[in-house]
């Protein structure tokens, strides 16, 4: 991962002065209650290249997962700047509909520990029942127990994965959802890391990431570092002092998990016995903390820093992951209590959890972190190649506000660069954005099954399915390829055929007046609803009549089904649901792959409004935001 070379702060200040702008955002105060009077809205001044209408489309494209019917009018009425300010303060936005939906989902309301104990991983249960590999030995009661556990694991999986789609679909706090998506990808975890991981995901999303998504970076970093989801994914839960390092003795009666839960040091013999039993230092989290979560790969740290960060974080763990564990705890017996130097800061010997806390302070306040986070946010909101001047200003906001994410985002999304012509519709939608924006435009209802999440997976972005810790790509060149377009076209075809759950191509707010309208009105209505009104005359002509010079010459592909088609599979066959993501341990031979289920079936011809909707979703214009 690389980003533009840092420009000296002085240059950024000079740039600001030259633009006649005052320093962009002010330090944000703590989140206020809904009743609090609106605070001043610092926005970057200066002319905006985009027209008023373009600005409305632009903020809906970038700060939400796509406009719903009526959103354009709502933003126009409120005014772009006031609307941005409101979105920056999700706590002022009533989100009852979304809250109500999630109040009914167990995974979001029960501790992960409870989930895992209630629905143990089927293989673990089989082993406990002493029947792994031979289910015929099970008693009827045991078979029922196994069936319940399997169903429960499936439910947990569905809730975590489709919950992402459904919140993005339903929530009024759209910028907060976009930020949640951003941070979940920045602090990426992988559902198949091992059996315990999936039980953690709903809590990771809703308790660790979302509440901190517009807060202080240091607070977010702390929440992630202590989350079982990350501790397990990047192995820190089992990282401990190497055998030659001093360890702490827990104070009698102090229990685990606290600053004072320790007395002196263990004897060397005790150290070695512990290390032998439980392994040693694991650098995985320490490395990614520096490389991916904070400083960035070019952030100027050394291998020795990686080791020392990992040493400082030894003992940051959670108990018994395979049994459902519990929350974060600091285990002094695992901690390397020796002296360490991290990025030039000395951490004294004989300390405990403070080592890790200090490391998080050091990396969160490191100038490379300000720049790296500013760069990634500018890339997300403005362009795949964000202007260096903007990145520097955003980084300056980060430093001035001690990592206030809301202030950094405000600097970016009120900037001239954000509202430049060059930025307008310049981003390629991720698969998640393609699916959710189509669902939102067509007023879809959350369907509560895995199918929409599977559709996102089919388009190439399985939710919580990125194996490596660097997360999904942000730039268009990584999303666009031969297979990607085919899948996106097929998504449009499936919507047109009415095969995407929760959504109808002809029954959405605004469609009622279009269903029987002349075709050019239908096209204009669909273009307004799905493409923000902006298409070329050529595109419009193709949508209306199919008459276009290219159409005549392009030999139409005959895809009538003379070829053998796989038989359509039961979309919710339980085994297949579990197979949605490949099991890294191999697992039993897979029966049917995800793509078959999502839209493998050959869809009958569509016409009229449904056809136009399908074409619009499969069109090049819909792939942009």
């Amino acid at each position: 991962m690389q980003y533009p070379t840092k420009v000296a702060v002085a240059a950024a200040v000079a740039f600001l002065a030259a633009c006649g702008g005052s320093p962009a955002a002010q330090v944000e105060s703590a989140p206020k209650m809904a009743a609090a009077p609106p605070e001043p809205m610092p926005v970057e001044s200066g002319p905006r290249e985009q027209t008023a209408d373009e600005q409305v489309n632009h903020v809906l494209n970038r700060l939400t997962f796509g406009a719903r019917p009526g959103d354009v009018e709502a933003v126009r009425t409120m005014g772009v700047d006031r609307w941005i300010d409101l979105q920056l303060h999700p706590e002022r936005i009533n989100d009852a509909k979304s809250d109500q939906y999630f109040a009914a989902l167990e995974s979001y309301n029960e501790p992960s520990q409870t989930l895992q104990q209630k629905y143990p991983p089927p293989n673990q249960l089989l082993q406990r029942l002493g029947a792994k590999g031979d289910r015929s030995k099970l008693t009827p009661a045991e078979t029922a127990e196994l069936r319940d556990a399997t169903a429960g694991v499936r439910k947990v999986t569905i809730e975590a994965q489709s919950g992402r789609v459904d919140r993005a679909l339903l929530s009024e706090r759209q910028l907060q959802e976009v930020m949640t998506d951003f941070w979940l990808n920045h602090f990426s975890v992988y559902i198949q890391k091992g059996p315990p991981e999936r039980y953690q995901l709903a809590q990771y999303e809703s308790k660790v990431i979302r509440p901190n998504s517009l807060g202080k970076f240091r607070t977010l970093l702390d929440a992630v570092a202590k989350s079982p989801a990350m501790l397990f994914y990047l192995d820190n839960w089992e990282s401990q002092a190497d055998s030659n390092r001093p360890r702490l003795v827990p104070l009698p009666g102090a229990g685990r998990g606290g600053r004072n839960a320790r007395g002196g040091l263990l004897t060397q013999q005790q150290q070695q016995a512990l290390a032998k039993r439980r392994g040693g230092l694991n650098e995985n989290y320490g490395r990614e903390l520096l490389e991916l979560h904070t400083l960035g790969v070019d952030g100027g740290y050394t291998q020795q820093d990686v080791i020392n960060v990992a040493r400082a974080l030894t003992g940051w763990t959670f108990p018994r992951p395979q049994q459902g564990g519990g929350g974060f705890e600091f285990n002094p017996q695992m901690h390397d209590a020796g002296e360490k130097t991290v990025l030039g800061h000395k951490l004294a010997a004989g300390r405990g959890i403070e080592d890790g806390e200090d490391v998080l302070d050091i990396v969160a306040r490191h100038p490379a972190t300000a720049h790296y986070i500013a760069y990634k946010l500018a890339r997300r909101f403005v362009s795949d190649t964000p202007p260096a001047g903007l990145v520097d200003r955003a980084a300056e906001t980060f430093r001035r506000t001690d990592g206030d994410i809301r202030a950094v985002v405000r600097t970016i999304i009120t900037s001239q660069e954000f509202f430049a012509q060059k930025a307008y519709r310049s981003k390629v939608k991720s698969p998640f954005e393609v699916v959710v924006s189509a669902l939102r435009a067509l007023g879809a209802q959350p369907d509560g099954t895995l199918r929409t999440a599977q559709t996102v997976a089919t388009l190439g972005e399985p939710i919580y399915g990125h194996q490596a810790p660097n997360g999904w790509p942000e730039t268009g060149d990584q999303w666009m390829n031969t297979g990607a377009i085919l899948n996106r076209i097929n998504f449009g075809v499936a919507i047109a055929a009415g095969k995407v759950p929760g959504v109808s191509p002809t029954n959405w707010k605004g469609a009622e007046t279009l269903v029987n309208a002349p075709i050019d009105q239908q096209v204009d209505g669909v273009v307004a609803a799905l493409l923000g009104g902006g298409v070329s005359p050529d595109t419009r002509a193709i949508l209306i009549t199919g008459q276009n010079p290219f159409l005549a010459s392009a030999a139409a592909l005959d895809t009538t089904p003379e070829m053998a088609r796989p038989k359509d599979k039961d979309p919710l066959d339980p085994d297949e649901v579990m197979m949605m993501l490949p099991d890294p341990s191999g697992g039993p031979p897979q029966r049917g792959p995800a793509r078959d289920r999502a839209f493998g079936k050959l869809q009958p011809p569509t016409k009229g409004l449904a056809l136009i909707v399908g074409l619009a979703i499969g069109s090049p214009e819909f792939q942009r935001r």
Partner: protein, 417 residues
Amino acid sequence: MQRRVFVKSGALALVTMGLSPSFLRRTAMGMELPLAVKGKVLICLFQRGAADALSVVVPHGERAYYQLRSTIAIPQPTRVGSAPSAIDLDGFFGLHPSLAPLKPLWDVGMLAPIHAVGSPSNTRSHFDAQDYMESGTPDTKGTTDGWLNRYLATSGTCEQCAPTPFRAVAMTPQTPRILQGLAPTVAMNSLDEFAPRAAGGDQIARLEALYRTGSADLIHSSGSEMFDAMKMLKSANPQQYQPANGAEYPKSQFGQRLKQIAQLIKSKVGMEIAFADVGGWDTHVNQGGATGQLAQRLDDFAQSIAALTNDLGEGMENVVILTMSEFGRMARQNGNGGTDHGHAGAMFVIGGSVKGKKVYGKWPGLQQEQLFEGRDLALTTDFRSVFSEIATKHLGATNTGAMFPGFNSATHLGLLG
């Protein structure tokens, strides 16, 4: 690095002339790429879950093997007519009896097993080990692309080759880690699925028109490329496929995927890299010996590969098949009649240009003191030396430094002539 940049008018003009934009992309990458060798194909097959190398390529000449594996060892080769036993290769190693379909390949010198090969990382996590084997960078997690993609990105297609969207194809639902990266690749479950899911009507023709019209940006060019690819595939007509030489592919997913790889090769769509994977190797419990759980997995594995080599026939002159698995399993069997995660494993290299009929790799032995960390088969060959030898000698890669950053050993086993 920007993957694709198009001259606005140029791309459109070429598209109407019938040239694929992938041709442009190659030029636009702005690199002087070395040329690959025309018609060469590498098929990589990943056994996910850690196949038990000691049951696959059996060290039947090693006494310790039978001591470590009291109930699951593959019996020493016996004469005709008795219970299934190892198929002797060289007096010391043998194949698992389920691998009998591969024995003819050994006999004609097209099969080269490699033993005690794998990743130098000591991880015993499937997740990490697969990651390392596919990224080609053991113990480095931050690598974002796979080594096969780095091969593609740093080697041009050959001078006489027509531009093709099918240069690298994974028969998998998503692009596997090994093929992720800057160079374009195609991942598909099956050839049938590589088509729009609309029957009849002019929906698809209109979509094609939408992508052929307007600006020549990344989205439009990818779309045009996709329609080119579909036409190419359609004219190759792989649906009407009859395997040659009476080859019979198993009905399993793996067998059917290998069949489709053969179809793509014979369709001459310019495929240079093919990838497929197969699971079910994580045999912690009731692994079985000459028969049983693992034997069944090996049946499917060997029959599928044998069908592929049969079907390709003479075509195997230009094909190398490489099998891999993330690590081997513990030397000693566990208390459940299975084996736990281990270290070094085994690979097969199969092809007309392979110097077969020889088991490659230094054998480290199975005596207690010879085992890695006192428990696993030790590693004597780094998988990167196998990968880089095949890339260099078979595909003509010249930049193995870019494929395997930080790996400096130029030692090759001499698998290929």
